[in-house]
Protein backbone atom coordinates (compact mmCIF):
# COMPACT_ATOMS: atom_id res chain seq x y z
CA UNK A 1 0.00 0.00 0.00
CA UNK A 2 1.16 3.48 -0.84
CA UNK A 3 2.18 5.41 2.19
CA UNK A 4 3.06 9.06 1.74
CA UNK A 5 6.34 10.29 3.10
CA UNK A 6 5.20 13.30 5.07
CA UNK A 7 7.76 13.43 7.84
CA UNK A 8 8.83 16.97 6.97
CA UNK A 9 5.24 18.21 6.81
CA UNK A 10 4.31 16.64 10.12
CA UNK A 11 7.35 17.91 11.99
CA UNK A 12 7.01 21.46 10.74
CA UNK A 13 3.24 21.43 11.22
CA UNK A 14 3.52 20.76 14.93
CA UNK A 15 5.64 23.88 15.15
CA UNK A 16 4.00 26.13 12.57
CA UNK A 17 0.43 25.39 13.60
CA UNK A 18 1.07 26.72 17.09
CA UNK A 19 2.81 29.81 15.82
CA UNK A 20 -0.14 30.42 13.50
CA UNK A 21 -2.69 29.88 16.26
CA UNK A 22 -0.82 32.18 18.64
CA UNK A 23 -0.49 34.90 16.02
CA UNK A 24 -4.16 34.51 15.15
CA UNK A 25 -5.14 35.18 18.74
CA UNK A 26 -2.80 38.16 18.88
CA UNK A 27 -4.42 39.59 15.74
CA UNK A 28 -7.88 38.97 17.14
CA UNK A 29 -7.14 40.78 20.40
CA UNK A 30 -5.31 43.66 18.75
CA UNK A 31 -7.95 44.14 16.07
CA UNK A 32 -10.12 46.79 17.64
CA UNK A 33 -7.57 49.57 17.51
CA UNK A 34 -4.57 48.46 15.50
CA UNK A 35 -4.09 46.29 12.38
CA UNK A 36 -5.68 42.88 12.74
CA UNK A 37 -9.18 41.80 13.58
CA UNK A 38 -11.56 38.91 13.66
CA UNK A 39 -11.49 38.20 9.94
CA UNK A 40 -7.70 37.82 9.60
CA UNK A 41 -7.53 35.97 12.89
CA UNK A 42 -10.22 33.57 11.74
CA UNK A 43 -8.50 32.98 8.41
CA UNK A 44 -5.19 32.26 10.12
CA UNK A 45 -6.82 29.87 12.57
CA UNK A 46 -8.56 27.96 9.85
CA UNK A 47 -5.27 27.92 7.94
CA UNK A 48 -3.61 26.30 10.93
CA UNK A 49 -6.38 23.72 11.32
CA UNK A 50 -6.23 23.00 7.60
CA UNK A 51 -2.49 22.41 7.88
CA UNK A 52 -3.15 19.92 10.65
CA UNK A 53 -5.73 18.17 8.48
CA UNK A 54 -3.22 17.90 5.66
CA UNK A 55 -0.46 16.56 7.89
CA UNK A 56 -2.37 14.16 10.14
CA UNK A 57 -5.50 13.29 8.21
CA UNK A 58 -9.18 13.67 8.95
CA UNK A 59 -9.66 11.13 11.74
CA UNK A 60 -6.81 12.28 13.94
CA UNK A 61 -7.71 15.96 13.79
CA UNK A 62 -11.37 15.20 14.42
CA UNK A 63 -10.27 13.50 17.62
CA UNK A 64 -8.03 16.42 18.66
CA UNK A 65 -10.55 19.15 17.84
CA UNK A 66 -13.99 17.65 18.41
CA UNK A 67 -15.90 20.74 17.26
CA UNK A 68 -18.77 20.87 14.82
CA UNK A 69 -17.52 23.76 12.69
CA UNK A 70 -20.92 24.43 11.16
CA UNK A 71 -22.24 25.24 14.61
CA UNK A 72 -19.56 27.90 15.01
CA UNK A 73 -21.28 30.05 12.36
CA UNK A 74 -24.51 30.76 14.28
CA UNK A 75 -22.57 31.07 17.55
CA UNK A 76 -20.29 33.69 16.03
CA UNK A 77 -23.20 35.48 14.41
CA UNK A 78 -25.06 35.65 17.70
CA UNK A 79 -22.00 37.21 19.34
CA UNK A 80 -21.80 39.83 16.59
CA UNK A 81 -25.52 40.59 16.56
CA UNK A 82 -25.62 40.46 20.36
CA UNK A 83 -23.24 43.42 20.63
CA UNK A 84 -25.62 45.34 18.39
CA UNK A 85 -28.59 44.38 20.52
CA UNK A 86 -26.86 45.87 23.55
CA UNK A 87 -27.56 49.27 22.04
CA UNK A 88 -31.29 48.66 22.51
CA UNK A 89 -30.79 48.07 26.23
CA UNK A 90 -28.59 51.09 26.83
CA UNK A 91 -30.60 53.27 24.45
CA UNK A 92 -27.70 54.42 22.30
CA UNK A 93 -27.48 54.31 18.47
CA UNK A 94 -27.14 50.84 16.99
CA UNK A 95 -23.54 49.54 16.85
CA UNK A 96 -22.24 52.18 19.28
CA UNK A 97 -19.10 51.09 21.02
CA UNK A 98 -17.45 51.88 24.28
CA UNK A 99 -14.34 50.86 26.20
CA UNK A 100 -13.04 50.91 29.71
CA UNK A 101 -9.92 50.12 31.73
CA UNK A 102 -9.99 47.13 33.99
CA UNK A 103 -7.56 45.64 36.43
CA UNK A 104 -7.20 41.93 35.89
CA UNK A 105 -4.93 39.52 37.77
CA UNK A 106 -1.76 38.51 35.88
CA UNK A 107 -2.39 40.94 32.99
CA UNK A 108 -2.55 44.06 35.13
CA UNK A 109 -4.15 47.21 33.77
CA UNK A 110 -5.93 46.37 30.51
CA UNK A 111 -8.20 48.12 28.05
CA UNK A 112 -11.32 46.22 27.07
CA UNK A 113 -13.63 47.40 24.29
CA UNK A 114 -17.04 46.21 23.21
CA UNK A 115 -15.73 46.18 19.65
CA UNK A 116 -13.69 43.15 20.68
CA UNK A 117 -16.80 41.10 21.40
CA UNK A 118 -17.92 41.86 17.88
CA UNK A 119 -14.50 40.79 16.61
CA UNK A 120 -14.74 37.53 18.51
CA UNK A 121 -18.08 36.93 16.82
CA UNK A 122 -16.54 37.58 13.42
CA UNK A 123 -13.65 35.27 14.31
CA UNK A 124 -15.95 32.34 15.11
CA UNK A 125 -18.05 32.94 12.00
CA UNK A 126 -15.02 33.05 9.72
CA UNK A 127 -13.52 29.88 11.21
CA UNK A 128 -16.90 28.18 10.89
CA UNK A 129 -17.47 29.23 7.29
CA UNK A 130 -13.91 28.45 6.15
CA UNK A 131 -13.80 25.01 7.71
CA UNK A 132 -17.29 24.14 6.50
CA UNK A 133 -16.46 25.04 2.91
CA UNK A 134 -13.12 23.25 2.91
CA UNK A 135 -14.42 20.14 4.62
CA UNK A 136 -17.42 19.97 2.27
CA UNK A 137 -15.17 19.84 -0.77
CA UNK A 138 -12.56 17.62 0.88
CA UNK A 139 -15.08 15.07 2.23
CA UNK A 140 -16.72 14.59 -1.13
CA UNK A 141 -14.36 12.06 -2.67
Amino acid sequence: MYKPNDLVLRTTTSLIAFILLGFAIYLLLAGHNSPGGGFVGGLLTSGAILLMYMAYGMEVVKKIIPINFTLLIPIGLSFAVGTGLGSFIFNVPFLSQTFGYFHLPIFGEIELATAMIFDIGVYFTVVGVMMTIILTIANDQ
Partner: protein, 493 residues
Protein backbone atom coordinates in the same frame (compact mmCIF):
# COMPACT_ATOMS: atom_id res chain seq x y z
CA UNK B 1 -31.55 58.99 16.73
CA UNK B 2 -33.88 56.10 16.86
CA UNK B 3 -33.02 52.44 16.82
CA UNK B 4 -36.42 51.74 15.33
CA UNK B 5 -34.98 52.06 11.84
CA UNK B 6 -32.68 49.08 12.29
CA UNK B 7 -35.38 46.69 13.52
CA UNK B 8 -36.42 45.47 10.03
CA UNK B 9 -32.81 44.32 9.54
CA UNK B 10 -32.15 43.02 13.02
CA UNK B 11 -35.36 41.04 13.58
CA UNK B 12 -34.96 38.76 10.53
CA UNK B 13 -31.26 38.41 11.29
CA UNK B 14 -31.91 37.28 14.86
CA UNK B 15 -34.65 34.96 13.59
CA UNK B 16 -32.27 33.45 11.03
CA UNK B 17 -29.59 32.81 13.66
CA UNK B 18 -32.09 31.30 16.07
CA UNK B 19 -33.44 29.03 13.36
CA UNK B 20 -29.99 27.66 12.51
CA UNK B 21 -29.91 26.16 16.00
CA UNK B 22 -33.33 24.54 15.48
CA UNK B 23 -32.53 23.36 11.98
CA UNK B 24 -32.96 19.64 12.62
CA UNK B 25 -36.34 20.08 14.31
CA UNK B 26 -38.60 20.87 11.39
CA UNK B 27 -41.81 21.33 13.37
CA UNK B 28 -40.28 23.84 15.77
CA UNK B 29 -38.67 25.67 12.85
CA UNK B 30 -42.02 26.04 11.12
CA UNK B 31 -43.76 27.41 14.18
CA UNK B 32 -40.87 29.75 15.02
CA UNK B 33 -40.75 31.04 11.44
CA UNK B 34 -44.43 31.90 11.55
CA UNK B 35 -44.12 33.60 14.94
CA UNK B 36 -41.05 35.60 13.91
CA UNK B 37 -42.53 36.71 10.61
CA UNK B 38 -45.73 37.88 12.29
CA UNK B 39 -43.68 39.85 14.82
CA UNK B 40 -41.71 41.47 11.97
CA UNK B 41 -44.96 42.30 10.21
CA UNK B 42 -46.39 43.98 13.30
CA UNK B 43 -43.17 45.92 13.88
CA UNK B 44 -43.14 47.13 10.28
CA UNK B 45 -46.78 48.23 10.62
CA UNK B 46 -45.77 50.28 13.64
CA UNK B 47 -42.82 51.73 11.72
CA UNK B 48 -45.03 52.78 8.82
CA UNK B 49 -47.43 54.48 11.22
CA UNK B 50 -44.52 56.19 12.99
CA UNK B 51 -42.93 57.39 9.74
CA UNK B 52 -46.21 58.72 8.36
CA UNK B 53 -46.97 60.65 11.55
CA UNK B 54 -43.51 61.81 12.66
CA UNK B 55 -41.56 61.88 9.41
CA UNK B 56 -38.36 60.15 8.28
CA UNK B 57 -36.43 58.18 10.87
CA UNK B 58 -32.66 58.51 10.51
CA UNK B 59 -30.28 56.22 12.34
CA UNK B 60 -26.61 57.08 12.50
CA UNK B 61 -25.06 53.79 13.56
CA UNK B 62 -22.40 53.92 16.20
CA UNK B 63 -23.18 57.61 16.79
CA UNK B 64 -21.03 58.55 13.78
CA UNK B 65 -22.82 61.55 12.32
CA UNK B 66 -23.74 61.68 8.65
CA UNK B 67 -21.98 61.70 6.21
CA UNK B 68 -19.15 59.87 8.03
CA UNK B 69 -20.91 56.90 9.52
CA UNK B 70 -23.24 54.26 8.16
CA UNK B 71 -26.65 55.84 7.78
CA UNK B 72 -30.00 54.10 7.71
CA UNK B 73 -32.80 56.21 6.30
CA UNK B 74 -36.30 54.99 7.01
CA UNK B 75 -38.42 57.28 4.90
CA UNK B 76 -42.00 56.88 3.74
CA UNK B 77 -41.13 54.94 0.58
CA UNK B 78 -38.74 52.55 2.32
CA UNK B 79 -41.15 51.89 5.18
CA UNK B 80 -44.03 51.06 2.82
CA UNK B 81 -41.86 48.66 0.84
CA UNK B 82 -40.66 47.01 4.04
CA UNK B 83 -44.26 46.53 5.12
CA UNK B 84 -45.04 44.88 1.77
CA UNK B 85 -41.92 42.71 2.02
CA UNK B 86 -42.92 41.50 5.45
CA UNK B 87 -46.45 40.84 4.29
CA UNK B 88 -45.21 38.65 1.45
CA UNK B 89 -42.74 36.95 3.80
CA UNK B 90 -45.43 36.17 6.35
CA UNK B 91 -47.68 34.61 3.74
CA UNK B 92 -44.78 32.54 2.40
CA UNK B 93 -43.98 31.42 5.95
CA UNK B 94 -47.52 30.06 6.35
CA UNK B 95 -47.51 28.51 2.87
CA UNK B 96 -44.08 26.87 3.14
CA UNK B 97 -44.92 23.96 5.51
CA UNK B 98 -47.49 22.66 2.98
CA UNK B 99 -45.50 23.42 -0.15
CA UNK B 100 -43.86 20.05 -0.46
CA UNK B 101 -40.41 21.22 0.48
CA UNK B 102 -40.03 18.06 2.56
CA UNK B 103 -36.35 17.31 2.96
CA UNK B 104 -35.30 20.72 1.74
CA UNK B 105 -36.56 22.31 4.94
CA UNK B 106 -33.74 20.74 6.90
CA UNK B 107 -31.15 22.14 4.47
CA UNK B 108 -31.39 25.48 6.28
CA UNK B 109 -34.40 26.68 4.27
CA UNK B 110 -35.79 28.88 7.05
CA UNK B 111 -32.49 30.57 7.99
CA UNK B 112 -31.86 31.41 4.32
CA UNK B 113 -35.42 32.70 4.07
CA UNK B 114 -34.78 35.18 6.87
CA UNK B 115 -31.35 36.14 5.55
CA UNK B 116 -33.09 37.03 2.30
CA UNK B 117 -35.54 39.27 4.16
CA UNK B 118 -32.60 40.86 6.01
CA UNK B 119 -30.89 41.72 2.74
CA UNK B 120 -34.04 43.06 1.10
CA UNK B 121 -34.96 45.24 4.09
CA UNK B 122 -31.39 46.48 4.35
CA UNK B 123 -31.31 47.44 0.68
CA UNK B 124 -34.52 49.42 1.12
CA UNK B 125 -33.40 51.47 4.10
CA UNK B 126 -29.70 52.03 3.60
CA UNK B 127 -28.58 55.58 2.95
CA UNK B 128 -25.22 54.61 1.62
CA UNK B 129 -24.36 53.42 -1.89
CA UNK B 130 -21.72 50.97 -0.75
CA UNK B 131 -24.02 49.49 1.87
CA UNK B 132 -26.56 49.05 -0.86
CA UNK B 133 -23.98 46.81 -2.53
CA UNK B 134 -23.38 44.95 0.74
CA UNK B 135 -27.09 44.32 1.31
CA UNK B 136 -27.45 43.30 -2.33
CA UNK B 137 -24.78 40.69 -1.68
CA UNK B 138 -26.51 39.54 1.51
CA UNK B 139 -29.77 38.96 -0.32
CA UNK B 140 -27.99 37.39 -3.28
CA UNK B 141 -26.04 35.03 -1.01
CA UNK B 142 -29.29 33.95 0.61
CA UNK B 143 -30.87 33.54 -2.82
CA UNK B 144 -27.94 31.39 -4.00
CA UNK B 145 -28.52 29.24 -0.95
CA UNK B 146 -32.25 28.98 -1.67
CA UNK B 147 -31.98 28.38 -5.39
CA UNK B 148 -29.63 25.39 -5.11
CA UNK B 149 -31.58 23.88 -2.22
CA UNK B 150 -31.68 20.13 -2.68
CA UNK B 151 -30.92 20.61 -6.35
CA UNK B 152 -30.86 18.09 -9.12
CA UNK B 153 -29.31 18.36 -12.56
CA UNK B 154 -31.37 21.16 -14.05
CA UNK B 155 -31.57 23.18 -10.86
CA UNK B 156 -27.81 23.20 -10.36
CA UNK B 157 -27.23 24.16 -13.96
CA UNK B 158 -29.63 27.09 -13.85
CA UNK B 159 -28.43 28.30 -10.45
CA UNK B 160 -24.90 28.37 -11.78
CA UNK B 161 -25.93 30.78 -14.51
CA UNK B 162 -27.92 32.85 -12.02
CA UNK B 163 -24.89 33.09 -9.74
CA UNK B 164 -22.50 33.99 -12.55
CA UNK B 165 -24.60 36.79 -13.99
CA UNK B 166 -25.18 38.27 -10.55
CA UNK B 167 -21.52 38.00 -9.61
CA UNK B 168 -20.54 39.82 -12.78
CA UNK B 169 -22.98 42.66 -12.25
CA UNK B 170 -21.98 42.95 -8.58
CA UNK B 171 -18.38 43.50 -9.62
CA UNK B 172 -19.51 46.17 -12.06
CA UNK B 173 -21.43 47.74 -9.17
CA UNK B 174 -18.22 47.94 -7.14
CA UNK B 175 -16.42 49.48 -10.11
CA UNK B 176 -19.17 52.06 -10.54
CA UNK B 177 -18.96 52.96 -6.86
CA UNK B 178 -15.19 53.38 -7.22
CA UNK B 179 -15.71 55.74 -10.16
CA UNK B 180 -18.27 57.73 -8.23
CA UNK B 181 -16.00 57.90 -5.21
CA UNK B 182 -13.22 59.29 -7.36
CA UNK B 183 -15.50 62.01 -8.72
CA UNK B 184 -17.41 63.10 -5.61
CA UNK B 185 -15.30 61.68 -2.76
CA UNK B 186 -18.10 60.08 -0.77
CA UNK B 187 -20.43 57.09 -0.81
CA UNK B 188 -23.20 58.59 1.30
CA UNK B 189 -26.17 59.01 -1.05
CA UNK B 190 -27.35 62.29 0.42
CA UNK B 191 -23.88 63.78 0.20
CA UNK B 192 -23.42 62.48 -3.34
CA UNK B 193 -26.74 64.11 -4.21
CA UNK B 194 -25.46 67.37 -2.79
CA UNK B 195 -22.06 67.26 -4.43
CA UNK B 196 -23.13 66.28 -7.94
CA UNK B 197 -24.72 69.71 -8.22
CA UNK B 198 -21.23 71.21 -8.04
CA UNK B 199 -19.43 68.79 -10.33
CA UNK B 200 -18.39 70.59 -13.49
CA UNK B 201 -17.93 67.61 -15.76
CA UNK B 202 -21.43 66.26 -16.08
CA UNK B 203 -20.28 63.86 -18.80
CA UNK B 204 -18.44 61.51 -16.47
CA UNK B 205 -21.37 61.49 -14.07
CA UNK B 206 -23.72 60.44 -16.83
CA UNK B 207 -21.31 57.63 -17.73
CA UNK B 208 -21.31 56.42 -14.14
CA UNK B 209 -25.07 56.73 -14.09
CA UNK B 210 -25.42 54.52 -17.14
CA UNK B 211 -23.00 51.98 -15.64
CA UNK B 212 -25.09 51.87 -12.46
CA UNK B 213 -28.23 51.56 -14.56
CA UNK B 214 -26.67 48.58 -16.33
CA UNK B 215 -25.96 46.96 -12.95
CA UNK B 216 -29.45 47.54 -11.56
CA UNK B 217 -31.06 46.59 -14.87
CA UNK B 218 -29.32 43.22 -14.69
CA UNK B 219 -30.64 42.66 -11.18
CA UNK B 220 -34.09 43.92 -12.12
CA UNK B 221 -34.20 41.88 -15.35
CA UNK B 222 -34.84 44.65 -17.86
CA UNK B 223 -34.48 44.33 -21.62
CA UNK B 224 -31.93 43.21 -22.88
CA UNK B 225 -30.57 41.82 -19.62
CA UNK B 226 -33.47 39.57 -18.63
CA UNK B 227 -32.35 36.32 -20.28
CA UNK B 228 -31.12 34.81 -17.00
CA UNK B 229 -34.40 35.29 -15.19
CA UNK B 230 -37.17 33.02 -16.53
CA UNK B 231 -35.42 29.68 -16.37
CA UNK B 232 -33.66 30.21 -13.07
CA UNK B 233 -36.88 31.38 -11.41
CA UNK B 234 -38.86 28.29 -12.33
CA UNK B 235 -36.45 25.63 -11.10
CA UNK B 236 -36.80 26.06 -7.31
CA UNK B 237 -39.85 25.36 -5.15
CA UNK B 238 -42.86 27.69 -5.65
CA UNK B 239 -42.32 29.39 -2.27
CA UNK B 240 -38.79 30.31 -3.28
CA UNK B 241 -39.95 31.43 -6.73
CA UNK B 242 -42.60 33.58 -5.08
CA UNK B 243 -40.04 35.23 -2.81
CA UNK B 244 -37.68 35.81 -5.74
CA UNK B 245 -40.37 37.08 -8.06
CA UNK B 246 -41.81 39.37 -5.43
CA UNK B 247 -38.65 40.77 -3.92
CA UNK B 248 -35.39 40.38 -5.85
CA UNK B 249 -36.14 42.19 -9.07
CA UNK B 250 -38.04 44.82 -7.10
CA UNK B 251 -34.93 45.68 -5.11
CA UNK B 252 -33.17 46.34 -8.42
CA UNK B 253 -35.90 48.65 -9.69
CA UNK B 254 -36.14 50.37 -6.29
CA UNK B 255 -32.41 51.14 -6.52
CA UNK B 256 -32.95 52.67 -9.96
CA UNK B 257 -35.76 54.79 -8.53
CA UNK B 258 -33.60 55.94 -5.62
CA UNK B 259 -30.40 56.62 -7.50
CA UNK B 260 -31.97 58.26 -10.52
CA UNK B 261 -34.19 60.55 -8.48
CA UNK B 262 -31.53 61.58 -6.01
CA UNK B 263 -28.19 61.59 -7.80
CA UNK B 264 -28.35 61.45 -11.59
CA UNK B 265 -31.06 63.99 -12.31
CA UNK B 266 -29.10 66.47 -14.41
CA UNK B 267 -29.24 64.73 -17.76
CA UNK B 268 -32.89 63.79 -17.92
CA UNK B 269 -33.12 64.01 -21.71
CA UNK B 270 -30.55 61.23 -22.00
CA UNK B 271 -30.96 58.89 -19.02
CA UNK B 272 -34.68 59.05 -18.46
CA UNK B 273 -35.43 59.03 -22.17
CA UNK B 274 -33.38 55.84 -22.33
CA UNK B 275 -35.48 54.41 -19.50
CA UNK B 276 -38.70 54.97 -21.40
CA UNK B 277 -37.47 53.03 -24.43
CA UNK B 278 -35.95 50.26 -22.34
CA UNK B 279 -39.27 50.06 -20.50
CA UNK B 280 -41.19 49.74 -23.77
CA UNK B 281 -38.87 47.04 -25.08
CA UNK B 282 -39.04 45.15 -21.77
CA UNK B 283 -42.83 45.11 -22.01
CA UNK B 284 -42.83 43.86 -25.59
CA UNK B 285 -40.16 41.18 -25.20
CA UNK B 286 -41.36 40.06 -21.79
CA UNK B 287 -44.90 39.49 -22.97
CA UNK B 288 -43.75 37.75 -26.14
CA UNK B 289 -41.83 35.37 -23.89
CA UNK B 290 -44.93 34.77 -21.77
CA UNK B 291 -47.05 34.03 -24.83
CA UNK B 292 -44.49 31.74 -26.39
CA UNK B 293 -44.61 28.99 -23.81
CA UNK B 294 -46.99 26.38 -22.47
CA UNK B 295 -45.15 25.93 -19.19
CA UNK B 296 -47.31 27.71 -16.63
CA UNK B 297 -44.38 28.49 -14.34
CA UNK B 298 -42.54 30.09 -17.25
CA UNK B 299 -45.61 32.18 -18.13
CA UNK B 300 -45.58 33.74 -14.67
CA UNK B 301 -41.81 34.15 -14.66
CA UNK B 302 -41.90 35.98 -18.01
CA UNK B 303 -44.65 38.21 -16.67
CA UNK B 304 -42.15 39.73 -14.23
CA UNK B 305 -40.37 41.47 -17.11
CA UNK B 306 -43.25 43.65 -18.44
CA UNK B 307 -44.11 44.56 -14.83
CA UNK B 308 -40.60 45.85 -14.27
CA UNK B 309 -40.95 47.68 -17.57
CA UNK B 310 -44.09 49.44 -16.35
CA UNK B 311 -42.34 50.57 -13.16
CA UNK B 312 -39.36 51.85 -15.14
CA UNK B 313 -41.69 53.75 -17.46
CA UNK B 314 -42.89 55.82 -14.52
CA UNK B 315 -39.34 56.59 -13.45
CA UNK B 316 -38.54 57.53 -17.03
CA UNK B 317 -41.35 60.04 -17.37
CA UNK B 318 -40.23 61.64 -14.09
CA UNK B 319 -43.51 63.41 -13.50
CA UNK B 320 -45.48 63.27 -10.28
CA UNK B 321 -48.07 61.00 -11.88
CA UNK B 322 -45.41 58.74 -13.31
CA UNK B 323 -43.50 58.37 -10.06
CA UNK B 324 -46.59 57.76 -7.95
CA UNK B 325 -47.72 55.24 -10.57
CA UNK B 326 -44.34 53.51 -10.27
CA UNK B 327 -44.55 53.32 -6.49
CA UNK B 328 -48.13 52.09 -6.64
CA UNK B 329 -47.24 49.51 -9.26
CA UNK B 330 -44.16 48.43 -7.30
CA UNK B 331 -46.21 47.61 -4.21
CA UNK B 332 -49.01 46.07 -6.27
CA UNK B 333 -46.59 43.91 -8.22
CA UNK B 334 -44.76 42.65 -5.13
CA UNK B 335 -48.06 41.30 -3.83
CA UNK B 336 -49.59 39.98 -7.03
CA UNK B 337 -46.43 38.26 -8.29
CA UNK B 338 -46.10 36.26 -5.10
CA UNK B 339 -49.81 35.41 -5.28
CA UNK B 340 -49.40 34.15 -8.84
CA UNK B 341 -46.27 32.11 -8.13
CA UNK B 342 -47.91 30.53 -5.10
CA UNK B 343 -51.12 29.79 -7.03
CA UNK B 344 -49.20 28.24 -9.90
CA UNK B 345 -47.33 26.19 -7.31
CA UNK B 346 -50.67 24.80 -6.13
CA UNK B 347 -51.80 24.12 -9.71
CA UNK B 348 -48.61 22.25 -10.55
CA UNK B 349 -48.98 20.30 -7.33
CA UNK B 350 -52.57 19.22 -7.97
CA UNK B 351 -52.20 18.61 -11.71
CA UNK B 352 -48.84 16.90 -11.40
CA UNK B 353 -47.46 18.72 -14.43
CA UNK B 354 -46.52 22.24 -15.43
CA UNK B 355 -47.35 21.66 -19.11
CA UNK B 356 -50.54 23.44 -20.09
CA UNK B 357 -51.26 20.99 -22.90
CA UNK B 358 -51.61 18.12 -20.43
CA UNK B 359 -54.08 19.91 -18.17
CA UNK B 360 -57.78 20.55 -18.22
CA UNK B 361 -60.97 20.40 -16.25
CA UNK B 362 -59.42 21.39 -12.96
CA UNK B 363 -62.38 23.62 -12.11
CA UNK B 364 -64.49 20.57 -11.36
CA UNK B 365 -62.12 19.53 -8.64
CA UNK B 366 -60.76 22.82 -7.34
CA UNK B 367 -63.27 25.65 -7.90
CA UNK B 368 -61.74 28.01 -5.29
CA UNK B 369 -58.31 27.70 -6.86
CA UNK B 370 -59.73 28.47 -10.28
CA UNK B 371 -61.56 31.60 -9.24
CA UNK B 372 -58.57 32.86 -7.26
CA UNK B 373 -56.48 32.58 -10.42
CA UNK B 374 -59.24 34.33 -12.35
CA UNK B 375 -59.24 37.29 -9.95
CA UNK B 376 -55.43 37.47 -9.90
CA UNK B 377 -55.39 37.60 -13.70
CA UNK B 378 -57.71 40.61 -13.55
CA UNK B 379 -55.59 42.24 -10.85
CA UNK B 380 -52.39 41.70 -12.80
CA UNK B 381 -53.75 42.95 -16.09
CA UNK B 382 -55.21 46.05 -14.48
CA UNK B 383 -58.95 45.67 -14.89
CA UNK B 384 -60.75 48.24 -12.75
CA UNK B 385 -61.35 48.37 -9.81
CA UNK B 386 -58.29 46.26 -8.95
CA UNK B 387 -54.91 47.66 -7.92
CA UNK B 388 -53.20 47.08 -11.26
CA UNK B 389 -55.59 49.52 -12.86
CA UNK B 390 -54.75 52.47 -10.59
CA UNK B 391 -51.03 51.93 -11.06
CA UNK B 392 -51.28 51.65 -14.82
CA UNK B 393 -53.63 54.61 -15.07
CA UNK B 394 -51.14 56.84 -13.25
CA UNK B 395 -48.20 55.50 -15.26
CA UNK B 396 -49.90 56.00 -18.59
CA UNK B 397 -51.13 59.43 -17.51
CA UNK B 398 -47.52 60.35 -16.75
CA UNK B 399 -46.34 58.99 -20.09
CA UNK B 400 -49.15 60.81 -21.91
CA UNK B 401 -48.32 64.09 -20.21
CA UNK B 402 -44.67 63.82 -21.22
CA UNK B 403 -45.71 63.20 -24.82
CA UNK B 404 -44.76 59.55 -25.29
CA UNK B 405 -47.89 58.40 -27.09
CA UNK B 406 -46.20 55.36 -28.64
CA UNK B 407 -45.31 54.00 -25.20
CA UNK B 408 -48.87 54.51 -24.01
CA UNK B 409 -50.12 52.36 -26.89
CA UNK B 410 -47.49 49.69 -26.22
CA UNK B 411 -48.42 49.71 -22.53
CA UNK B 412 -52.11 49.24 -23.26
CA UNK B 413 -51.49 46.44 -25.75
CA UNK B 414 -49.13 44.75 -23.29
CA UNK B 415 -51.81 44.88 -20.59
CA UNK B 416 -54.22 43.09 -22.89
CA UNK B 417 -51.65 40.44 -23.71
CA UNK B 418 -50.83 40.00 -20.01
CA UNK B 419 -54.50 39.29 -19.40
CA UNK B 420 -54.48 36.83 -22.28
CA UNK B 421 -51.35 35.04 -21.02
CA UNK B 422 -52.86 34.41 -17.58
CA UNK B 423 -56.31 33.64 -18.99
CA UNK B 424 -54.61 30.99 -21.11
CA UNK B 425 -53.79 29.15 -17.89
CA UNK B 426 -57.40 29.51 -16.79
CA UNK B 427 -58.89 28.42 -20.09
CA UNK B 428 -56.66 25.45 -20.80
CA UNK B 429 -56.09 24.42 -17.21
CA UNK B 430 -59.51 24.86 -15.64
CA UNK B 431 -62.08 24.64 -18.38
CA UNK B 432 -62.80 21.52 -20.26
CA UNK B 433 -63.91 18.02 -19.59
CA UNK B 434 -63.60 16.33 -16.23
CA UNK B 435 -61.78 13.40 -17.75
CA UNK B 436 -58.99 15.35 -19.41
CA UNK B 437 -56.49 14.57 -16.70
CA UNK B 438 -57.44 10.93 -16.61
CA UNK B 439 -58.22 9.45 -13.25
CA UNK B 440 -57.03 12.40 -11.23
CA UNK B 441 -56.90 11.84 -7.52
CA UNK B 442 -58.20 14.77 -5.57
CA UNK B 443 -55.28 16.05 -3.55
CA UNK B 444 -55.64 18.06 -0.39
CA UNK B 445 -54.91 21.76 -0.78
CA UNK B 446 -55.28 22.35 2.92
CA UNK B 447 -53.12 25.22 4.14
CA UNK B 448 -52.13 26.24 0.62
CA UNK B 449 -55.17 28.24 -0.45
CA UNK B 450 -55.78 30.26 2.72
CA UNK B 451 -52.46 32.22 2.76
CA UNK B 452 -52.77 33.04 -0.95
CA UNK B 453 -56.35 34.21 -0.55
CA UNK B 454 -55.25 36.35 2.39
CA UNK B 455 -52.56 38.00 0.29
CA UNK B 456 -54.91 38.49 -2.64
CA UNK B 457 -57.34 40.39 -0.39
CA UNK B 458 -54.63 42.96 0.18
CA UNK B 459 -54.14 43.32 -3.53
CA UNK B 460 -57.88 43.85 -4.02
CA UNK B 461 -58.02 46.28 -1.10
CA UNK B 462 -55.16 48.25 -2.61
CA UNK B 463 -57.33 48.80 -5.66
CA UNK B 464 -60.73 49.26 -4.04
CA UNK B 465 -59.28 51.45 -1.31
CA UNK B 466 -57.34 53.61 -3.76
CA UNK B 467 -59.19 56.62 -2.44
CA UNK B 468 -57.45 56.12 0.87
CA UNK B 469 -54.04 54.94 -0.39
CA UNK B 470 -53.52 57.34 -3.26
CA UNK B 471 -52.92 60.59 -1.28
CA UNK B 472 -50.11 58.89 0.64
CA UNK B 473 -48.49 57.56 -2.54
CA UNK B 474 -48.85 60.98 -4.09
CA UNK B 475 -47.05 62.64 -1.18
CA UNK B 476 -44.25 60.05 -1.46
CA UNK B 477 -43.91 60.85 -5.16
CA UNK B 478 -43.67 64.56 -4.41
CA UNK B 479 -41.01 63.73 -1.84
CA UNK B 480 -39.06 61.60 -4.32
CA UNK B 481 -39.13 64.35 -6.93
CA UNK B 482 -37.55 66.83 -4.54
CA UNK B 483 -34.18 65.31 -3.56
CA UNK B 484 -33.41 68.31 -1.39
CA UNK B 485 -35.80 67.04 1.32
CA UNK B 486 -33.91 63.75 1.51
CA UNK B 487 -30.52 65.47 1.53
CA UNK B 488 -31.55 67.92 4.23
CA UNK B 489 -33.09 65.30 6.46
CA UNK B 490 -29.95 63.14 6.32
CA UNK B 491 -27.31 65.85 6.52
CA UNK B 492 -29.40 67.98 8.92
CA UNK B 493 -28.75 71.34 7.40
Amino acid sequence: MSNLAVLPIILPLVSAITLIFFNSKVNISRKLTQIFSVISLLVSCYIVWKVFTDGTIILETGAWVAPYGIILVMDSLASLLILTTNLVATVCAFYAPHAGLEKKESYYFYPFFFFLITGVSGAFITGDLFNLFVFFEVLLMASYGLIVLGGGKVQLRESLKYLLINLFSSMLFVTAIAFLYAVVGTVNMAQIGERVQEVEQQGILTTIGILLFFVFATKAALFPLYYWLPKSYIVPNPVISALFGALLTKVGIYSILRVFSLIFVYKLELTHELFIWVAGLSMVFGIIGALSTNNIKLIIAYNIIPAIGFILLGIGTFTIDGISGSIYYLIHDMIIKSVLFLLVGVIVYVAGTSDLRKMGGLIHYYPVLGWLLFISAFVLAGIPPFSGFIGKLLLLKGAFASGHIAIVIIGLLTSLLILYSIMKIFIYGFWGDKQMLGNLEKKSTKGLIAPVAFLLTFSVLLGVGAEFVYPHIDSIAAYILDPQIYIDSVLKE
